[in-house]
């Protein structure tokens, strides 16, 4: 347990000292600010546009951060053999993976929190005051975080297997496909029995990112029902557990360079 905490804190410190993170966060703020502009050149969508643009910015830049640090952090350890320092100590390989994962999630949470604060600052600036209805974006942020932790899990898995460039491509591809599962399913409906079964199987096994997307409803001020929050959180937790288990299994017997 102690060792997991040590690795998590170390991973967090390491990513916080990554300069790219700051650039991405700054761009996120720029985009959130652009939400004010969008509302002013349009009609009747001031708040909606701000929330849409703000949440989309947090989501997109969060995605970049998740993929970037998710892949580079583990790959760097292996490539630069700093991993020797860790695994020669009383640290199980599973503990290493879990520690890294938690450290990355912590980084994501902190980054997202910072961007969310900025978002609410702009929203407050635009609306003058905030009310209970403005909690809806917070729920959307929670779902964005769930998506991002899933992405980190996927990135970790791939980086235990392949090079960073390939891992980035695979992770991004999985994210895109995960958003299009509905279409995949529809494609299956129109195909022969074998293909339909295959596609149905795939849509059940692949991560359902679309289900975790809440930006548009949040912009309308719609709150997600509590039961849905619970069920989706559970799905994310289970899927992440599966990803981490797979990563650990692969990593357990891997010869280090």
């Amino acid at each position: 347990m102690n060792q997991i905490a040590a690795i998590a804190v170390h991973a967090f410190k390491e990513s916080v000292r990554e300069k790219v993170l700051y650039n991405l966060v700054i761009f996120a703020f720029l985009m959130i600010g652009a939400g004010l502009v969008l509302g002013s050149v349009s009609v009747g969508i001031n708040d909606v546009a701000l929330v849409n643009l703000g949440l989309s910015a947090i989501s997109v830049f969060g995605l970049f951060i998740a993929i970037f640090i998710g892949i580079s952090l583990v790959w760097k350890e292996m490539e630069r053999r700093t991993l020797y320092n860790v695994l020669s100590k009383p640290v199980a390989r599973a503990e290493f993976i879990l520690g890294k994962f938690l450290g990355l999630v912590l980084t994501l949470v902190v980054n997202t929190a910072i961007m969310t604060v900025g978002f609410y600052a702009v929203l407050w600036f635009e609306k003058g005051r905030l009310g209970a209805a403005d909690l809806a974006p917070l729920e959307a942020v929670y779902f964005i975080l769930l998506q991002l932790t899933l992405v980190v899990g996927v990135a970790l898995l791939f980086s235990a297997i392949s090079s960073p460039a390939l891992s980035a491509v695979f992770t991004l591809s999985l994210y895109v496909i995960g958003n299009l599962l509905g279409d995949l399913r529809a494609l299956g409906e129109q195909s022969g029995a074998a293909l339909r079964a295959l596609l149905r199987g795939l849509t059940l096994v692949l991560p359902d990112f679309a289900a975790l997307s809440d930006i548009a409803p949040a912009a309308r001020g719609e709150l997600v029902p509590g039961s849905q929050i619970v069920s989706h959180s559970l799905y994310a937790a289970l899927y992440i557990a599966a990803l981490l288990s797979a990563t650990i299994v692969i990593f357990e017997r891997k010869d280090l360079r």
Partner: protein, 279 residues
């Protein structure tokens, strides 16, 4: 990563700026399927809907300014916006009014307006104002009073509907086409208008309706004068001198009415009222 993010945000800004300064009449739209766009947006369809809606608004503004009366892409832009976000209510409402309005104020396509509103109602069945807009188009642009009445009636049954919906439904059923009914409808539009464009349009319609009512009233007086004096009035002053009017009435644009060559009430020179807008 940096370059990507920078390029993305810069592209967004350029696009927004380009929308407001572009002079060409027909914007080229590479992707015309809302469903495809929705797929490509990966969860950001709300933002994309907002962007397309903004494009629609700016397109309309530009075309209106140019005075050509060419709004051929308006329908498509509105359709895409609402396909991306079926709950973008302002797109349905705005779209309905300006799609249905006759050129040069609008696209003159009440059929497209109806289609848009029907889709809006399908996605937002309990939003009563869409029924109101539907009723309005049937009444005003299609002169289909029975359909208008039933739309208004359906709307009046939705949660949160204003009480006048029921009354209006009844009026339309009974006296569709009457100026008084029209005035009621346009007054609703005026008082609910969320933006100046719509409010201005409603103001013009109300002015035209008032003028039509005034002129009908004046015509009645002119007939009375003719019967009483045995000769047609040559000017409004005749009516004033006959004590039928307290003074020379003016139309809503401030120009006094006159008597036309056909002996009926007419607009004075320089009047800014467009009588076409009364029907």
């Amino acid at each position: 990563m940096l370059v990507l993010a920078l390029a993305g945000s810069v592209a967004l800004r350029i696009r927004l700026e380009r929308e407001s300064t572009r002079a060409e009449v027909t914007p080229v739209m590479y992707v015309t399927s809302g469903a495809t766009l929705r797929r490509l947006s990966l969860g950001h369809q709300g933002l994309l809907a907002d962007l397309y809606w903004t494009r629609a608004v700016q397109y309309f503004g530009r075309q209106k300014l140019s005075g050509t009366g060419d709004y051929r892409d308006l329908g498509r832009l509105l359709r895409i916006s609402t396909e991306l976000d079926p709950h973008l209510l302002i797109a349905y409402r705005f779209g309905a009014i300006f799609l249905a309005e006759n050129p040069p104020a609008g696209a003159g396509r009440p059929d497209e307006a109806l289609a848009l509103l029907r889709r809006g109602i399908a996605a937002n069945p309990s939003y009563w104002r869409l029924w109101q807009d539907l009723g309005f188009i049937y009444y005003w642009d299609l002169k289909n009073y029975p359909q208008a009445a039933s739309a208004l009636e359906a709307g009046s049954r939705q949660p949160g509907a204003d009480l006048w919906m029921k009354t209006l439904a009844a009026s339309v059923a009974a006296q569709g086409g009457e100026l008084a009914t029209s005035r009621l409808l346009w007054f609703q539009v005026y008082s609910q208008a969320g933006n100046e464009s719509i409010r201005q349009s409603a103001r013009e319609h109300l002015a035209a309706i008032k003028t039509a009512e005034d002129m009908a009233q004046l015509n009645k007086l002119l007939v009375e004068f003719g019967q009483r004096e045995g000769r047609p009035a040559s000017s409004i002053d005749d009516l004033v001198r006959a004590g039928m009017l307290p003074g020379r009435p003016a139309d809503p644009s401030g120009v006094p009415y006159e008597v036309g060559n056909d002996g009926k009430a007419a607009l004075g020179p320089g009047s800014r009222v467009d009588l076409q807008m009364a029907r």
